[in-house]
């Protein structure tokens, strides 16, 4: 398997805090890679740099063999990079269906076409029904509960045709039953050839779903390997899992 995403010596400082410190790892095409680590270890910051929300202080990110020159989330997205946020971000004044329609990847010349073309609407209705949001699809997104907003964000990822999906704690605040649905979707997409990079604190899910697992601590890579290996690694036990 070739590397879809390569992160080289990535570094980000905020004032005195070094959030990410020379972090290097790869995500190979077709994998479901986990990125775990204690609170504040820099996982979200890595995501922000990889998806163009933050400019790295040093180091480089290359996606699909090309090095990203200037950070621009929209371009990254169109290149096939899609993400969710740890704190759910939805378009609060748009309806659920519209939220999903925005995320549907359309060429620029569709700009003057319909806002929600029938194909998008059908797809959106399907996905929403899967997450038990079907009844609410005409409601504004700000009327959703916390967990429902997370689900909506996740659903938006399913609208595009991404190559790599970055999920930031997708299951936080989501009901365990719904987590299973989510897992199912991830596996389906994975079978269709989509690669995942998942930040998650729910170890059961990580161990079931992901391979390999990368462990971050203080902004640098601490360990990497098969789930079972990582789970036994004394460094990881010490820094993260605890006993």
């Amino acid at each position: 398997m070739s590397a879809l995403l390569e992160v080289r010596a990535l570094t980000k400082r905020f004032g005195g805090v070094t959030a990410v410190d020379g972090c290097t790892f790869e995500v190979s095409a077709g994998s479901i890679t986990a990125l775990i680590g204690p609170n504040g270890s820099g996982k979200t910051t890595v995501f922000n740099m990889v998806t163009g929300y933050l400019r790295p202080d040093a180091g480089a990110v290359s996606f699909d063999g090309r090095r990203a020159s200037r950070p621009d989330p929209a371009r990254f997205y169109r290149a096939g990079l899609s993400r969710t946020f740890q704190q759910p971000r939805v378009f609060r004044e748009l309806t659920l269906v519209e939220n999903l329609a925005v995320a549907a990847n359309r060429p620029w010349w569709a700009l003057l076409g319909r806002d929600v073309p029938p194909t998008d609407r059908r797809r959106a209705e399907e996905v929403l029904a899967d997450f038990r949001l079907g009844d609410l699809m005409g409601n504004k997104a700000r009327e959703l509960s916390f967990g429902q907003q997370k689900l909506l964000e996740f659903a938006a990822v399913l609208m595009g045709r991404p190559k790599l999906v970055l999920l930031d704690e997708p299951t936080a605040g989501v009901n365990p039953v719904m987590v299973e649905t989510m897992e199912q979707h991830i596996r389906d997409l994975h079978r269709q050839g989509i690669t995942f990079l998942v930040v998650e604190h729910e170890m059961n899910l990580v161990m079931r779903l992901c391979d390999p697992v990368i462990v971050l601590d203080h902004g640098a890579k601490l360990a990497e390997g098969r789930p079972a290996e990582v789970q036994r690694d004394p460094l990881v036990l010490d820094a993260y899992l605890g006993t």
Binding site: V17, N39, G40, V177, G242
Partner: protein
């Protein structure tokens, strides 16, 4: 134990148009940890908001030790000894971590008490001391959650409402939080906990309640709900295959 501290009877509430709670009945016993679980959008957070005064119930009664607190302002509810840690981010992002925790004791007039408490908290949650001058908004998601919980300990409440305190926490921090909840409870305070991490939540709870579509569907002791296969299938998900 045994006497009802908080009692909701037929509470109906909502956000502007339409109702979200369609008659909630719930009893929280004094000195117990009660855990509320249920699917996303069931109305769990709405129950807490209605109790703490962020939302005004349209119908029904909410009583605390027999006194009616339904429809009081959040300030008034707080003065009855009810502290609410909401689910959304609730820190003041441009204030320092330390000032945030200080704000937790805003209603305390006695400076000495404030100082004693904050030092105690800083001991227990090192992040409060280590990052005291940093702006709270710059912390990571999990770090913010910890500070929120730390802040809630500034007061000495009768009842603590916690809305999914374990979201976004790493395994250690999660243990610390559940441990803290148990400790608070052992200190004589009553806790009403909402958790999606239902297994861990029910595990430390004396009492559990399951909500669905704006109503309480099931009640029982924490362990009995955990053991119920129907509850497990509908609300807890498949039993974990390999526990970490």
């Amino acid at each position: 134990m045994g006497t009802a501290l908080l009692r909701l009877q037929g509470v109906v509430a909502g956000y502007g148009r339409g109702d979200v709670l369609h008659g909630v009945d719930l009893t929280v016993e004094e000195g117990a940890v009660t855990c509320l679980i249920g699917p996303n959008g069931a109305g769990k957070s709405t129950v807490l908001k209605t109790v703490s005064g962020l939302l005004r119930p349209k119908r029904g009664r909410i009583t605390l030790l027999g006194r009616d607190i339904g429809g009081l302002s959040p300030q008034a509810v707080l003065s009855h000894g009810v502290v609410h840690v909401p689910q959304e981010r609730s820190l003041f992002p441009s204030m320092s971590v330390w000032d945030n925790v200080l704000m937790g004791g805003f209603v305390l007039r006695d400076r000495a008490v404030v100082r004693r408490r904050i030092e105690h908290i800083a001991d227990r949650f090192p992040i409060v001391a280590n990052r005291r001058h940093e702006r709270a908004g710059s912390l990571s998601g999990g770090e913010q959650k910890i500070v929120e919980i730390a802040r809630a300990l500034m007061l000495d409440p009768v009842l603590v409402l916690m809305d999914e305190p374990s979201t976004g926490l790493d395994p250690r921090a999660r243990q610390l939080v559940f441990h803290t909840i148990t400790e608070i409870n052992e200190g004589g305070r009553t806790v009403l906990l909402v958790e999606q991490n239902a297994r861990s939540g029910l595990a430390i709870a004396h009492h559990g309640a399951v909500m669905e579509s704006g109503r309480v569907r099931l009640e029982g002791t924490g362990s009995s709900l955990l053991a119920d296969p129907e509850v497990a299938r509908l609300f807890l998900g498949a039993a974990p295959a390999n526990r970490g």
